[in-house]
């Protein structure tokens, strides 16, 4: 049994609004998420899912409203941001580095988990490609490498934006089980996905953004 996360708390989003190009993307939305829960964001293309996730990560400032973590404004808690594992549309891996170098870089930058790089490579099925320069990987392999970031750190709050783009079935299954493990350890997850994801057995809240 894996250890429980030490840094977990309740996330609350109050009256959050986001404007883009003088248009309202979403307005006055309220959300909450507590440990051992999943929040599944749904909505059409352009409904503001990515913008919402980027606001939660601190890349964008909310135009209105606030985000609180354990009751305090998240913007004033540096640990809140450090505790997020964000995998967005961009993979965040360096094309010039090999698979293994990329993984080691992810590990050295943050509070590392105890898992060995070798084990991660085996789990995501890139063990044979450890020394391959990332540019030469296929889109799906790159995505797996990007998602491997989740295993390299001990962050309890995962924000995943379309995580399973271009992944094959087996890999999707692996990352689904990884998510389940993460949640049962007391982790939190917000994700968007147009793929079918099997999260049976977990407490999943759905939230729909509509124009």
């Amino acid at each position: 049994m894996e250890q429980q996360y030490s840094f977990s708390s309740n996330l609350e989003v109050k009256n959050l609004s986001c404007f883009r190009n003088e248009q309202v993307l979403f307005s006055k939305i309220n959300l909450s998420l507590s440990p051992e829960n999943v929040l599944f964001l749904q909505g059409e293309n352009g409904s503001g899912k990515t913008s919402l996730l980027r606001i939660l990560c601190g890349f964008r400032l909310p135009d209105e409203g606030e985000i609180t973590w354990g009751g305090d404004p998240a913007a004033r808690i540096p640990e809140y941001f450090q505790n997020i594992s964000y995998i967005g549309h961009k993979n965040g891996i360096k094309d010039e580095l090999s698979v293994e170098e990329n993984l080691n870089l992810m590990r050295s930058m943050a509070t590392a988990s105890e898992i060995k790089t070798e084990d991660v490579l085996k789990k995501i099925g890139l063990f044979k490609q450890a020394d391959v320069i990332s540019r030469q990987l296929s889109a799906g392999q790159k995505r797996k490498l990007a998602l491997a970031r989740l295993m390299m750190t001990n962050n309890s709050f995962w924000i995943l934006d379309e995580p399973f783009t271009s992944l094959d079935k087996a890999s999707v299954g692996f990352f689904e089980s990884l998510i389940k493990q993460h949640i049962t350890r007391g982790g939190m997850l917000i994700l968007t996905s147009h793929h079918e994801i099997d999260l049976s057995g977990l407490s999943v809240n759905h939230f729909s953004l509509s124009n």
């Binding site: 990560c57 601190g58 890349f59 964008r60 400032l61 540096p78 941001f81 450090q82 997020i84 964000y86 967005g88 549309h89 961009k90 993979n91 965040g92 891996i93 360096k94 094309d95 010039e96 580095l97 170098e101 870089l105 992810m106 050295s108 930058m109 943050a110 509070t111 320069i133 970031r149």
Partner: protein, 222 residues
């Protein structure tokens, strides 16, 4: 905290080594442009000697600008920058690692190759050592100031034009003090005042601009 700094520094050097053509380009530009001057001016030793500091410094300035574009662009495009903002180590510290690596692979080679080019322009040896000293104090400043401009424009589609408008005026003080120092040495005066000013500008740039760069990068990510 400093582990992350070292990792970023090492990572950037490794990436630069694997994309050698991009490092070599500014250096080739530097060598080519400077060696064009003797060709264009002819064998006028006195004239070349007189304008040599200006030629080398202006070209160094342009070569630095040329090399800057890649400083944050790839990190911005592949999402590494997003990841860097969420680390325990402050972004303002991490950007100094990137700038240090950048200077290491562009500024330092320029300085190393300069004595050769200075001889080509008939510079006397005492001027050459002063030239190297001004470059040593000046090119890090150029890299740092340039980083501010790049951080501001990295999110724009056509940042290149704005970049030159933004940065070149800020390069002028460095250029003035450097060439003034060289003039003084040529005329047999001391250049200490100019060197002290250049050092002061460098210290000011190192201490203040990382915060500006980090803030600008966060704006660009928005």
């Amino acid at each position: 905290m400093f582990n992350a700094w070292v990792q970023i520094f090492k990572r950037d050097l490794l990436i630069a080594f694997r994309r050698r053509s991009e490092i070599i380009h500014p250096i080739i530009f530097f060598v080519m442009v400077i060696s064009l001057f003797p060709l264009a001016i002819g064998d006028d030793k006195v004239l070349l000697q007189k304008i040599a500091p200006a030629i080398i410094w202006v070209t160094a300035l342009l070569a630095t600008m040329l090399s800057l574009d890649n400083l944050f662009r790839t990190d911005f495009e592949d999402g590494s920058l997003e990841q860097m903002t969420m680390l325990k180590t402050p972004l303002s510290l991490l950007v100094t690692a990137k700038i240090a690596a950048h200077w290491f692979i562009t500024g330092l080679p320029l300085i190393l190759i300069t004595p050769l080019l200075a001889v080509l322009l008939y510079m006397p040896s005492e001027s050459i050592s002063m030239l190297l000293l001004t470059l040593l104090l000046g090119t890090p400043t150029l890299s740092i100031i340039g980083a501010v401009g790049i951080a501001l424009t990295v999110g724009l589609r056509q940042g290149g034009v704005i970049l030159s408008l933004l940065i070149l005026p800020l390069y002028i003080p460095v250029l003035i003090f450097a060439t003034l120092a060289l003039q003084n040495v040529e005329q047999g005066f001391s250049a200490e005042a100019q060197l002290a000013m250049m050092l002061a500008i460098l210290v000011l740039a190192i201490t203040l601009s990382p915060f500006a760069i980090a803030a600008a990068l966060k704006v660009s990510l928005n």
